[in-house]
C-alpha cells in the first residue's frame, strides 16, 4: 500500500525525481566548493546558465507538443550574429531596443518556417530542423564571417550585477515560471498537451493540431532569440558564427533530465530549468573536485548517464524484488 502511494506521488509530480537529483548534486557541490551559496558565486553560476535555460524552455514547449527542434543552437548563432551587426558600443537606447525587437521577430519568423514545414508539409520534425539548422548556420556565417562584436559596457555591467542583492537570474526564473503558470490556465495549454500525446486523437476532438504545432516552433524561435540576447549580454557582445551550435543537444538533455518525455504530451518548463541547473552543477562539481582535465568529459558523461538511468534502475530493482 505504501509503495503504491509513493508511485502515485512520483507519477503526479514529474519534477520530483529531477528535483531530488538537483538537491543531491547541489549537496555534492557544497562539499567540494563551500562558497557555492554565496551571493557572488551564485550570481556568476546562474548568470552563465540563463541562455541555455531559455533555450531549454523553448525546447520543452516543442517536445510537449510532440516535436523536436534540432535547430535551436544554430538559431542562437544566427540571432547573435544579427544582433551584433546592429548593435555597437555607441548605439543609443532606441537603436538597441529596435535591434532587440527585430531579433525577437527574426527568431519567431525562423520558428514559423520550421513550424509550417513540420505541420503543413508534414515533414518529420527531427530531420526538418536538422536541415534548417544548415540554413541558419549559413546565414550566421554570412553575417559574421569573423569573430567579433561588442555592446555598450553599461549593459553588460547591469547584467553582471545582482539587483537588490538577488541575482538577476532569479528574476528570469521567476518570470518564466509565472509565464508558464499563466499559460497553463489557458485553453491553448490543453491543446498543446493533447496534440503532444496523440495528434490524431486531438484532431478528432477538434483541436487545431496544425496551428498548435506551428506555435510550438514559434515559441522555440522566440526563446532562442531571448537566449541569444542574454548570451550577448554575458559575453559583452563578443560572438562568433557558431557560438550557440553546441547548445542544441544540451537543451534536449536538460529537457529529459527535467522529467519531460521526448514522446510528448507530458512535462513542463520547470523541469527544463531544473535540468539545466543539474547539468551546470555537475560541471561545477567536476571542476572543483579537481578531476584531471583529460578525464572531465568522461566523468561528465558518466554522471549524466547515471542520472538518466536512475529511475529505470529503481524500476528494475523493484521488479526483481517483487518477484
Amino acid at each position: 500500500m505504501k509503495s503504491l502511494n509513493l508511485q502515485r506521488v512520483f507519477a503526479r509530480n514529474t519534477y520530483l525525481i529531477s528535483f531530488i537529483l538537483l538537491v543531491i548534486v547541489l549537496g555534492i557541490n557544497y562539499i567540494v566548493q563551500n562558497n557555492v551559496f554565496e551571493l557572488r558565486v551564485l550570481n556568476n553560476n546562474l548568470r552563465t546558465l540563463v541562455p541555455l535555460m531559455l533555450l531549454a524552455v523553448g525546447q520543452s514547449i516543442v517536445v510537449i507538443g510532440g516535436g523536436l527542434d534540432l535547430s535551436v543552437g544554430t538559431l542562437v548563432s544566427m540571432l547573435s550574429a544579427l544582433l551584433i551587426t546592429w548593435v555597437t558600443p555607441d548605439s543609443t537606447p532606441d537603436q538597441i531596443l529596435l535591434a532587440v525587437v527585430l531579433v525577437c521577430a527574426a527568431g519567431m519568423l525562423a520558428g514559423l518556417v520550421n513550424g509550417l514545414v513540420v505541420a503543413y508539409l508534414r515533414l518529420q520534425p527531427m530531420i526538418t530542423t536538422y536541415a534548417t539548422s544548415f540554413i541558419f548556420s549559413g546565414i550566421a556565417l554570412l553575417l559574421l564571417p569573423r569573430p567579433g562584436g561588442s555592446i555598450p559596457r553599461d549593459l553588460s555591467t547591469f547584467y553582471r550585477s545582482p539587483l537588490l542583492d538577488i541575482p538577476l537570474a532569479f528574476y528570469a526564473i521567476a518570470l518564466l515560471l509565472l509565464f508558464w503558470s499563466v499559460l497553463r490556465t489557458t485553453r491553448y495549454a490543453q491543446y498543446l498537451y493533447a496534440t503532444g500525446s496523440s495528434g490524431a486523437a486531438a484532431y478528432a476532438t477538434g483541436v487545431p493540431v496544425r496551428v498548435v504545432r506551428v506555435t510550438t516552433y514559434v515559441w522555440s524561435g522566440l526563446f532562442a532569440a531571448l537566449a541569444s540576447l542574454t548570451l550577448m549580454l554575458s559575453t559583452g557582445g563578443a560572438s562568433q558564427a557558431n557560438i550557440g551550435d553546441d547548445m542544441t543537444l544540451d537543451s534536449i538533455v536538460a529537457v529529459v533530465l527535467g522529467g519531460t518525455r521526448l514522446s510528448g504530451g507530458q512535462g513542463g518548463i520547470a523541469g527544463a530549468i531544473i535540468g539545466v541547473m543539474i547539468l551546470r552543477v555537475i560541471r561545477n562539481v567536476i571542476f572543483f573536485a579537481a578531476v584531471p582535465t583529460w578525464s572531465q568529459t568522461l566523468v561528465n558523461a558518466l554522471i549524466i548517464i547515471a542520472a538518466l538511468a536512475g529511475p529505470g534502475l529503481i524500476r528494475l530493482i523493484r521488479r526483481s524484488i517483487g518477484r
Binding site: V117, Q124, M126, I127, A200, L249, I252, S295, L298, I305
Partner: protein, 319 residues
C-alpha cells in the same frame, strides 16, 4: 504505364537513386569536368564510407521506439584511433586492429542497447550520453596525442583502385548491401526488427522478445559504425579527435533520404545506400560550384528540406 503501376515501382529508394544520377549529370552542366569515370568512382567511394556507417543507423531507425543512434560518430573515431594505435603502421597487425575496433563497437552498442531496452532511457539521450563516454575515454587514453600510423595494406585494399579501377571499399559496400538485405528480409531477426518497429506491444504479444531485439539492433549498429571507422582510416590515413563527427547526423539524413521513416517499421538498406549517394553528390556538387561556405550550407539545408518533402512525409491527420 498508368499512375498506379508507376507509383508501385517508383519507391523512395528508386527516386533517390534516379535523383543521384540526375544530380551527377546536372554537375556536368555546371562544370563539364564533373562528368568522368574517375569522378564518378571518387563520389561512390566517398558515399561508401557514409553508407557503411549509416547501415547500423538504418537498423536502429527501423526498430522504432524513437530509435536513433547519435553515437556512431564517436564510435567511428574510436575504431580509427584504435586501429591507428594498435597497428602502428604494421601490416601484420591489421587483423588485430580490425578485431579490436569491432570489439569496441560491440561494447558501445551493447551498452546503448541495455540503457535503452532495460533502463528505458530515450535512445536520443542515451546514445548522446554514450558519445560523451566514448569521446571521454578517447581523451583519457590518448591524452590528446595521436600516436601510431596507418598500415600501407589498408590504403591499398580500401581506398586505392583494386579491381577494374574500383576501390576495395566500394566492393565491400556492395557486399554489405547484400548481407544487409539478407539480414533484414530473410532472417527471423529481420522479421522481428520490422515487427517491433511497427508496433512493440503487438510484437510482444505475438511472442517477439522485444528487449532482446532492441539490444541486438544497437549492438549491430555499434559493430557497423566501428567497421565504418576502420575503413575510414584506410582512406583518411590519419586520425583526429573529431574524425567521425561529420558522420553523426548525415548518417541519419542518408537513412531518411532513402525513404525510411523515422517512426520505424518501414525502410530498406538499399534506400540508405541511395541516400548516401544523393547526399555525397549534393555535397560534391556544391563544392565543385565553388560557392562560399556560407552559401553551401544554406543551399544544402534548403535542398535537404526539398528532398524529404518529396516523400518523407507523415500521414495526413484526416486519414
Amino acid at each position: 504505364m498508368n499512375a498506379q503501376t508507376l507509383r508501385r515501382y517508383l519507391t523512395p529508394p528508386l527516386i533517390a537513386l534516379l535523383l543521384a544520377i540526375a544530380l551527377f549529370f546536372a554537375g556536368g552542366f555546371i562544370n563539364p569536368d564533373f562528368i568522368n569515370v574517375t569522378q564518378a568512382i571518387n563520389i561512390v567511394r566517398l558515399a561508401a564510407f557514409l553508407g557503411i556507417i549509416a547501415a547500423g543507423q538504418t537498423l536502429v531507425i527501423v526498430s522504432g521506439g524513437e530509435g536513433i543512434d547519435l553515437s556512431v560518430g564517436a564510435v567511428v573515431t574510436l575504431a580509427a584511433i584504435l586501429t591507428f594505435r594498435i597497428t602502428g603502421g604494421d601490416n601484420n597487425l591489421v587483423g588485430v586492429g580490425l578485431l579490436a575496433s569491432l570489439s569496441a563497437g560491440f561494447i558501445v552498442g551493447l551498452l546503448n542497447g541495455i540503457g535503452i531496452a532495460l533502463l528505458r532511457i530515450p535512445p536520443l539521450v542515451m546514445t548522446l550520453g554514450m558519445t560523451g563516454v566514448v569521446s571521454g575515454t578517447i581523451l583519457v587514453v590518448t591524452q590528446g596525442e595521436m600516436l601510431g600510423a596507418t598500415p600501407a595494406l589498408m590504403s591499398t585494399y580500401i581506398a586505392r583502385p583494386l579491381i577494374f579501377g574500383i576501390p576495395g571499399v566500394i566492393i565491400i559496400w556492395v557486399a554489405l548491401g547484400v548481407v544487409m538485405w539478407l539480414l533484414m528480409e530473410r532472417t527471423t531477426y529481420g522479421k522481428h526488427l520490422f515487427a517491433i518497429g511497427v508496433n512493440r506491444t503487438a510484437a510482444r504479444l505475438s511472442g517477439v522478445r522485444v528487449e532482446r531485439v532492441v539490444i541486438i539492433t544497437y549492438t549491430l549498429a555499434g559493430l557497423l559504425a566501428a567497421l565504418g571507422g576502420f575503413m575510414l582510416l584506410g582512406f583518411a590515413q590519419t586520425v583526429l579527435l573529431n574524425l567521425g563527427d561529420p558522420y553523426r547526423f548525415p548518417s541519419i539524413a542518408a537513412v531518411v533520404v532513402g525513404g525510411t521513416m523515422l517512426t520505424g517499421g518501414k525502410g530498406s538498406y538499399w534506400g540508405t545506400m541511395s541516400g548516401a549517394l544523393v547526399l555525397t553528390l549534393i555535397d560534391s556538387l556544391l563544392r565543385a560550384m565553388g560557392l562560399a561556405e556560407a552559401y553551401q550550407l544554406i543551399v544544402f539545408g534548403g535542398l535537404l528540406v526539398l528532398l524529404i518533402a518529396v516523400y518523407g512525409r507523415e500521414l495526413n491527420l484526416r486519414q
